[in-house]
């Protein structure tokens, strides 16, 4: 398949549909315990217990957001301090150049801005989105994953036995299984 195309090896995925969310969760668990790695679920809305079924670690977003908030507060306060105390102090009504209460609002706002920004951009970076093409979109049925269907996808290793994987996933309760192959572009 890869001959003459600069060593392109298409990735292969088993895409399996389950009847409902509960079946998907138990099926995912079963397939994962059967030794398959690179599992993912595709659902129209988040299901309770997804993280356990997929065996995910603690989410990283909270830590990223905390760092963003601390950075924002630090940047804001030091900016104000530098500008109004060190670089160009102005005496207005004999107020002290460094007046902490007056610095609180902007420190707070910039902490929120950077924390919110790190939540948003952190998520898209972790999720590796935007990504317009993904091999799994080759499946005709898959358009229903955002509407009302519950899918499990398993990326097969290069030398993986597709038939064996299809059988294992069907045995885990899937109502439809399909092998999709990445197209070269």
């Amino acid at each position: 398949m890869s001959s003459g195309h600069g060593g392109f090896v298409p990735r292969r995925y088993v895409v399996a549909e389950f009847a409902d969310g509960a079946a998907l969760l138990s099926g995912t668990k079963q397939v994962r315990e059967g030794g398959y790695k690179d599992l993912d679920t595709h659902t129209p809305y988040p299901l309770h217990g997804l993280e356990d079924a997929l065996g995910l670690k603690r989410p990283k977003i909270p830590t990223i957001v905390l760092c963003g908030a601390i950075a924002g507060a630090f940047i804001a306060y030091s900016m104000i301090y530098f500008m109004n105390v060190l670089d160009w102090p102005i005496n207005i009504g004999n107020r002290p150049p460094h007046s902490p209460p007056a610095n609180i609002p902007i420190t707070f706002e910039l902490a929120i801005l950077l924390a919110g920004g790190s939540s948003f951009f952190g998520f898209f970076t972790l999720a590796k989105l935007p990504r317009p093409y993904h091999p799994i979109f080759e499946s005709e049925n898959f358009t229903r994953a955002s509407i009302d269907a519950f899918f499990l996808s398993v990326e097969l290793p290069e030398d993986g036995d597709a038939d064996k994987a299809l059988a294992a996933i069907r045995a885990a309760g899937a109502i439809g299984v399909e092998l999709v192959t990445e197209s070269e572009r």
Binding site: D40, P44, P59, G122, F124, L129, F137, S146
Partner: protein, 469 residues
């Protein structure tokens, strides 16, 4: 439990459901996307025509302001602030209900927010755009505004004055706009994927696919997404309180009688929520009818919104009473004169009494369940409340300024045609953006409604009204 002579009538004490009728994920999906896929109707084009004409007025007034300068506005010493800041505060306040509904109600796990949050968040964005316009053009030369407002190293060698609430305002409002936009878009991504996947044509599929960023409902993504979303909500909650607090500091930090008061921050925030909910209702009532959203925006939602307006209306009333009490209790003749003479009996008194009627008396109607369930009554009262809240800002700004310490400084105020066109123009801008939103984006957060349906159907501890037992 059922008596033998049981009559099949709805129990008046049974709460209304959050989602009416029997639905599956598919029927919810199709019913909520229906208004996007069906072509624009005559009604939409009619409203859009009106909105764009009003937007044209904004164009005329803006051009004239920029060509001639801000001397074309009616404000002049002593009324140095007028329509510009009234409209700014009014629009920002309207925007706050969106954040309140989407963020604060999410943190309090109020399930009824799900059907109205997308709608209200869009309103926030567009209202903040309208609000931002005023401080920008009031500088007279908005193309220089960025140089004056933003701390950047320049040859002038001078920095913004960080002890001024006006500088805080720049950071507060721009942060508010940015975070509202990010929050709105993050919530929209799964819905855009649903739009992409149910597109009737390839072009639409490509366009919505572009905005959906390749979302594939991945469980690995959802795990991080839920945190990103809830943290943005958690951050927006103190943000919305801080923004209107800082807006109120613009006044409260000065020494003008009628402005210099510590009750301003909470009273401004309550007023913002009050007017914001009113604006949500003004738009939601026609939208749920014309876009076919009655099964997800049920009487339960309308009733809850009316109750929030009743509560915030009374908080605002308490604010008015306290202002008067402190004016008397302080023994300051300027304060007392401002409240008991100027506001009650001065040349601007009609605006004050209109405000009292609209903000204090009208919401009392919401004690009645019949009013809370009557769509025409809710619609009319919501508009009255918006009028009342505009009058409140007029009272604070113009009425306080036109009679201050020295009688020789007293002067009357009247807006010019430019002021009025700018105001009507921003209503046009808001309406245009909102109508475009209703045309191209699902007005209800369908992913969240599907999740809610799943929860209501499968969680035995939650009833159809979303109450936990």
């Amino acid at each position: 439990m059922a008596a033998p002579n049981h009559v099949d009538m709805p129990d008046p004490l049974e709460p209304h459901a959050l989602i009416e009728g029997k639905h599956t994920d598919k029927t919810i999906n199709d019913s909520l996307l229906h208004h996007v896929w069906r072509g624009a109707g005559k009604g939409w084009w009619l409203l859009f025509g009106v909105a764009v004409s009003m937007l044209g007025l904004l164009g005329v007034a803006l051009t004239w302001t920029l060509y001639k300068g801000i001397g074309t506005w009616g404000n002049n010493i002593p009324v140095g602030w007028a329509f510009g800041i009234i409209n700014f505060v009014w629009w920002i306040g309207i925007g706050h209900a969106g954040t309140l509904i989407s963020a604060i109600l999410l943190l309090f796990q109020q399930k009824w927010r799900t059907s109205i949050n997308r709608f209200a968040e869009a309103m926030t964005l567009f209202a903040v755009i309208c609000a931002l316009l005023f401080p920008l053009i009031h500088t007279g030369r908005p193309w220089f505004a960025a140089y004056w407002l933003m701390p950047y190293p320049s040859v002038q060698g001078i920095w913004p004055q960080f002890k001024s609430p006006l500088t805080w305002d720049v950071f507060a409002v721009s942060t508010y706009f940015t975070i509202s936009l990010l929050f709105w878009f993050l919530g929209l991504v799964p819905d855009l994927a649903a739009l992409r996947d149910s597109s009737p044509s390839k072009t639409k599929r490509m366009i919505y696919g572009l905005f959906a960023m390749g979302w594939r409902g991945s469980g690995r993504h959802w795990a991080e997404y839920k945190w990103a979303y809830v943290l943005l909500a958690g951050l927006s909650t103190p943000l919305v309180l801080s923004v209107h607090t800082i807006v109120s500091f613009d006044f409260a930090v000065s020494v003008i009688p009628g402005w210099h008061t510590t009750i301003f921050p909470p009273y401004f925030v309550a007023g913002a929520v009050f007017s914001g909910f009113a604006m949500v209702l003004t738009w939601m009532l026609p939208a749920r009818h014309f876009l076919g959203l009655k099964h997800v925006v049920t009487p339960k939602h309308l009733e809850n919104m009316a109750k929030v307006m009743l509560v915030t209306g009374m908080m605002v009333t308490y604010g008015y009473v306290m202002e008067h009490f402190i004016a008397w209790y302080s023994g300051n003749p300027y304060e007392a004169g401002q409240f008991f003479l100027v506001r009650w009996r001065g040349p601007m008194a009609p605006v004050f009494w209109l405000m009292v009627t609209c903000n204090c008396v009208v919401p009392q109607l919401y004690w009645s369940k019949r009013v809370r369930h009557s769509v025409p009554m809710l619609w009319v009262t919501s508009i009255l409340i918006n009028v009342g809240m505009w009058c409140e800002r007029f009272n604070i700004v113009v009425t306080s300024l036109h009679r201050d310490f020295i009688p020789s400084k007293w002067e009357n105020y009247a807006p010019t045609w430019v002021d009025i066109c700018l105001f009507i123009g921003t209503i046009g801008l808001f309406s245009t953006l909102f109508l475009l939103f209703l045309k191209f984006v699902p007005a209800v957060a369908l992913t969240e409604v599907k999740e809610l349906r799943h929860e209501l159907a499968h969680d035995p501890t939650v009833d159809s009204a979303g109450e936990t037992h």
